[in-house]
Symmetry: C2
Subunit: 467 residues, 2 copies
């Protein structure tokens, strides 16, 4: 185990800002993650620390918790020291106090003492600020420490803390941007390896193997399960058993998470063989035009929801031109008919989490008190990011066209959007698959900056890679 | 998602045997696993089904449960059908009833109805047989369904069910052996790739990358986190950041889990450069002699604990010859002094789990009512398998020599085993590292059978691979 840390001042400053945002109001309790068992207790998935814990306390070690007392300023890390048995089995590690010192904290306690601090705070009527737990073991611990039922834990989450953490983590610092650049560049190398290795007859999982190899060989790993599929219309498929056939495309959505836990999130769609078919080219150009239009709109002060809608309109424009849709693009989007082809959102925040801070709530990360996330409209309910952009945000832009036979059948049977969708033409595309193109951008003072090395994205560039 | 299943009769027969073993005694409730979140709810680790669930119900799909009524013979699979949103996001799947039919079950219910069946059984005073949960979410569900506290769930585990499942899963069928052969052979290919790619100057994680690539390219994955390290003395290290240096060795302990969830578990130790040093050769030969001796003892009727102790004596013999130990090997082992070099057990059961059925309890898998697992003796307390071997068992054999500086310092300070350990000589080996050699064996009627393709293991063979 090796710690990968920024300078201790980084963490001290971050905590000072958080304390200031929460104000004099009880204690802040952040839980690190535990190891997660696969098929028996001691056979664990690769450890992933909680991102907010990493942000404020940096330590990538299981079974830690940390407390900030907003009144006294006391900061404590809770964790247990290794025994000789631990050393025999997993090697030496710095002591908890040595690790804590590296992130600017000089008080440590055994893990079992968290409950004493919580009890004391509760007994004296002080607030205990917690974030929403997404791991069941942390939910169990919080219920036990707060002496409440599991069902009541959600009600104890501190919205004040949630909002303070989001406000801070939304704006990426220079150090963070440098890590994101690295993570995206590794993701570019992964994409290049997959594209170059794609040939007719290969299995999807052989390409997945390449993606993992490149990530791990860069001392990174995949930040989310790879989507590498000839059925690009299935938005989050993790099935890799298909044999790739000449004439079809591969949709590849992969990203590296580097050793500082920052991630890239890139998608390319490319032909199995050397070149796209003419139908593939037509729809690819539509997606690319939508993407370029969206990118041109990225700047502070613009609502991402508006960029999403403008990108949808660009898609609709193109789909009308190829006779898959009909009518006025603005009316198509207003009616929601474009969601036959683009069922999801244009993008999301990116950072230590692929969907950055999704554990804290999409409404709070991607929206504001005055701009609420839609919860029922097909399409918009899947748009994770709606709020006005600010300098320092990092976002993905990822339009797509997905031909989903099940959706065609359902909507056609329901006679849905007959004024806008040419079902006869659309049914000739049933086996088309899907196209998505995705890059990652930092919002700058005047516009945006593409993160990472350039990854070919035009038809010509993609075909050149396969030459 | 694709189901990988044996013929439905296989599962029907397995359940019939289980029902028979438990007898007319309430209901048997087996829980499948859920998806496990990494850093937010929807970003999940690769799904791993519970092995006992796979054994009896075969379905590799999250959030299923299954019930066997030992009185009426009723068998039910509980699971929820996909919505159109699920299809858009993750693609189509067979319905729960279609999947159930493939494993010989014709009754399915929504997941939420498990609790009704449990309530009914409890209300009529019938026993609800459960296995010990190792995932916190399953613990939460069991507590809720049984209306007991989380702390009381362990007390509700059915020892009768645990023992019946173990008795059945311990003896591998021909179908299972065929899968184990495949998984071990993939593991051999992984080892070969790692060995051949090892050169001075490379990082450990670059070798880890190769192991993953080969596994995934065979439509498999790693069954447990890779141990690929130049610090072979650390038994379960998962740190891969070291640069490999000429003169040192790499210990590589990796195994594939194939698409039927059977796994291999192989270890080789090899030089970073082209050849072993003379000290490395000396200790390697000792480990290999111990291994070969252990293998020669594998047959039905022999206690694995005795094989372990005989292998330890072989290690002690060799360590006396190279002056690291002194005295009589049998006395050394009786006193436990060899545990300075070999701190763990000789092997364990292997199957769908690397430590097969470890979730059901090491005492019940590896020992018997009359042969109890030691709980305090250093060395033996880490021996997972002690019981008499039977035809059909699959076991690992993995002796080793590990030079752990922290252990030398501690025991020397405690003046421990001064009659048996040459501390002066041993201290000249402080930076040696560790050696382990491991293969997988099926116990046959007369002896044993090496599973999978042959993987070079002699000094000469290993050096030839690096030539």
């Amino acid at each position: 185990m090796e710690l990968h840390l920024f300078d201790k001042q980084v963490y001290t400053n971050r905590r000072a800002i958080l304390k200031n945002a929460v104000g004099i109001d009880g204690i802040i309790l952040l839980l690190g993650n535990e190891d997660s068992s696969m098929n028996y207790k001691d056979n664990c998935y690769p450890f992933r620390q909680d991102s907010s814990f990493l942000y404020y306390f940096g330590l990538n070690v299981p079974t830690l918790a940390a407390l900030i007392d907003t009144e006294t300023g006391e900061e404590v890390i809770f964790g247990n020291e290794l025994t000789i048995d631990d050393i025999v089995w997993t090697g030496t590690l710095p002591s908890v106090s040595e690790m804590a010192e590296q992130v600017g904290i000089n008080k440590t306690k055994p893990y079992g003492q968290v409950v004493d601090y919580v009890n004391k705070a509760v007994a004296s009527g002080r607030r205990v600020h917690i974030l929403p737990p997404y791991r069941p073991e942390n939910k169990i611990k919080l219920a036990s420490w707060l002496n409440i039922s599991l069902n009541d834990v959600a009600g104890q989450v501190s919205l004040k803390l949630v909002k303070a953490v989001i406000a801070q983590r939304l704006i990426k610092s220079e150090l963070e941007i440098a890590e994101l650049e690295k993570a995206v560049s590794i993701s570019v190398d992964m994409q290049l390896a997959v594209i170059k290795n794609t040939v007719p007859g290969i299995k999807e999982y052989q390409l997945v193997a390449k993606a993992h190899e490149v990530a791990i060989a860069h001392n990174a790993h995949l930040g989310y399960p790879a989507i590498i599929t000839t059925h690009g219309q299935t938005l989050h498929t993790h099935y890799y058993g298909n044999t790739l056939q000449e004439g079809r495309m591969v949709l590849c959505d992969i990203g590296a998470e580097n050793n500082m836990y920052y991630g890239g999130d890139l998608t390319r769609t490319f032909p199995v063989g050397r070149s796209f078919t003419s139908r593939q080219k037509e729809l690819y150009e539509i997606v690319l035009a939508s993407m370029d239009h969206a990118i041109s709109m990225l700047k502070p002060g613009v609502r991402y929801r508006d960029i999403h809608l403008a990108a949808c309109e660009k898609l609709a424009e193109g789909l009308v031109q190829v006779n898959l849709m009909k009518g006025d693009p603005a009316e198509i989007v207003a009616a929601g008919a474009h969601t036959m082809f683009f069922q999801c959102g244009l993008g999301h925040m990116l950072g230590m989490d692929t969907h950055d801070m999704e554990d804290l709530g999409e409404q709070y990360v991607g929206y504001t008190d005055t701009l609420l996330k839609e919860t029922s409209t097909f399409g918009l309910k899947s748009l994770r990011l709606g709020r006005e952009l600010e300098s320092g945000y990092v976002v993905t832009v990822e339009p797509g066209i997905y031909i989903i036979p099940e959706l065609i059948d359902r909507w056609q049977a329901e006679k849905k959007y007959l004024d806008f969708i040419n079902y006869d033409e659309l049914n000739t595309y049933r086996d088309f698959g899907g196209i998505r193109i995705e890059d990652n951008f930092l919002i700058t003072d005047n516009g945006s900056h593409l993160l990472g090395k350039y990854l070919p994205k035009t038809l010509k560039e993609i075909e050149a890679l396969k030459g």
